[in-house]
């Protein structure tokens, strides 16, 4: 029963929304009723889907780069405290600098004709840190008893990494991946906003465009697609997490 509560709540809110907007004669360029948003979604579906696909491609690319890069750097960190001490402050600097502020610089560097590269770099900067910090934590969260066994049987550093540290890091790494995937989407959309121009083909620019034309129902339709994409990304990683960690539990 309780699992249907969110759907029920949503339905009530949507009905109230529809009812109030109609009864109070709210202009549709301020707040369109849900029915109109649905119409806009259907009418603009091909163009919105194409835009979503552009955004999604960059999101997945940024996530992949963050995941592999963050994990690789975390492995380096765990091998050597010296490297971690030297590099970690810069990772933190990247993390705390608002991407909106560095976007213009990145666009200049990659050239205005390659906006998608700027978006990829900016989204990667946003999505990178959760992977790095979670992977570093995970690689260090090795059972001390198991670590002793690996020493007792004279395991090589490679054996320790592949047979002990990486599997031990999996739960933390996947938790980081879930955060990172969400941030990659947010980062991509924000970067499209600040780096994009009429050339940009992602969803963010469809939103800007709809706003400029006062096509608010279409704007809401684009927003709806974005939210659904975020949910889908989250659900996918949650599913992978359940699959990979199904044997975990106390051991």
């Amino acid at each position: 029963m309780t699992r249907f509560l969110p759907a029920l709540f949503g339905l009530i809110v949507l009905s109230l929304w529809e009812l109030l907007v109609r009864e109070l004669h709210v202009p549709k360029f301020v707040l369109p009723p849900p029915s109109l948003i649905l119409d806009a979604l259907v009418a603009n579906f091909p163009s919105l889907l194409a835009a979503l696909w552009e955004t999604l491609k960059l999101t997945l690319a940024a996530f992949a780069v963050s995941f592999l890069g963050g994990l690789a750097l975390a492995i380096l960190f765990v091998q050597s405290r010296l490297i971690e001490r030297s590099l970690l402050p810069y990772a933190v600097v990247l993390q705390v600098t608002p991407i909106v502020a560095i976007a213009p610089l990145i666009v200049i560097w990659v050239g205005v004709e390659h906006v998608e590269r700027a978006v990829l770099i900016l989204a990667t900067i946003v999505a990178f840190f959760p992977i790095l910090s979670n992977a570093t934590f995970g690689l260090r969260s090795v059972d001390p008893g198991l670590a002793d066994l690996f020493r007792l049987y004279r395991a090589t550093p490679w054996q320790r990494l592949t047979l002990l540290q990486l599997p031990s890091a999996l739960p933390a790494l996947l938790a980081g991946a879930r955060i990172s995937a969400g941030l990659a989407l947010i980062g991509t959309v924000v970067a499209e906003f600040v780096a994009g121009s009429g050339e940009a083909t992602g969803l963010a620019w469809r939103i800007v465009e709809s706003g400029n034309r006062l096509e608010i129902p279409r704007m809401f339709a684009a927003l709806l697609l974005l939210s659904l994409t975020g949910l889908a990304l989250n659900a996918t990683i949650a599913w992978i997490e359940r699959r990979l960690l199904r044997h975990w539990g106390a051991a």
């Binding site: 059972d143 008893g145 198991l146 002793d148 066994l149 690996f150 020493r151 007792l152 049987y153 004279r154 395991a155 054996q159 047979l163 002990l164 599997p167 999996l170 044997h247 975990w248 539990g249 106390a250 051991a251």
Partner: protein, 245 residues
């Protein structure tokens, strides 16, 4: 003969965990080290295993053929099957899975878990997980088995069963066992030899050979030998604590 001579261990923070421990452990014996928590028993075991270096003294006569180690927790890899967990020591010493398979089967049969080879640790009870840890420790056929309070977290029935199974293993395989425990009864039931340790810093207070038969069962628990030994070890343990206080 495994010999510890003048062994001391001081940690970098200045804490002296063990001070001047001399201990000779006969080949094939079952020696229990009994003492209160924090008396350096575990540290001593780590030194014998070679996982830590003594600050002073020497350890000689470590048997060829390796060391097996069992901790208080089973410390299994949750992501690996029982068979893969038992395979670990062989895998780390580069034995192929095919070559290892008969040895894995044998070790699992010895601890009575042959049919659980493809299970995962979380599907097993606490006692069964401990059996897996023992199978993993003996899969390399070590000549020295080190156990650090392995059954402390188990209920008494499971613990008694595992004690009997361990004794059978020890008789069949003939390895030397050093068994750390804080239970007087467990140590007397299992051992051919008992060393009592006092805390801060850890020292050997006294030693007690246990005269009982090698095959032990419920009758042994009721025998005068067992009761006398329990009595003597308890009394010495109390004296050791009083001396340390």
């Amino acid at each position: 003969m495994l010999r510890l001579e003048g062994i001391a261990k001081t940690y970098p923070n200045g804490f002296r965990a063990i001070d001047r421990v001399d201990l000779a452990i006969g080949e094939g014996s079952f020696t229990s080290i009994v003492g209160p928590s924090g008396c350096g028993k575990s540290t001593l075991l780590r030194l014998v295993a070679g996982l830590a270096e003594p600050s002073d003294g020497t350890i000689s006569g470590r048997p060829q053929g390796g060391v097996g180690l069992v901790f208080q927790d089973p410390t299994l890899m949750p992501w690996a099957t029982v068979a893969a967990n038992v395979y670990l020591p062989l895998r780390l010493t580069r034995v192929s899975r095919t070559d290892a398979q008969p040895r894995i089967d044998e070790a699992l049969t010895l601890v009575g878990l042959r049919e659980f080879a493809e299970s995962y640790p979380r599907e097993l009870s606490g006692g069964m997980r401990m059996r897996v840890a023992i199978a993993r420790a003996i899969v390399t056929k070590p000549h020295l088995l080190l156990m650090d309070e392995p059954f402390a977290a188990l209920d008494e029935i499971t613990r008694n069963k595992l004690n009997d199974d361990l004794l059978t293993l020890w008789r069949d395989r003939g390895f030397t066992t050093i068994f750390v425990t804080h239970s007087v009864f467990e140590s007397v039931y299992l051992s051919t030899d008992i060393a009592i340790m006092t805390p801060q810093p850890g020292r050997i207070f006294s030693r007690h050979p246990v005269a009982g038969p090698r095959v032990r069962d419920a009758d042994f628990r009721a025998s005068a030998t067992y009761l006398d030994a329990c009595h003597a070890v308890s009394r010495d343990l109390e004296r050791a604590m009083a001396a340390a206080a």
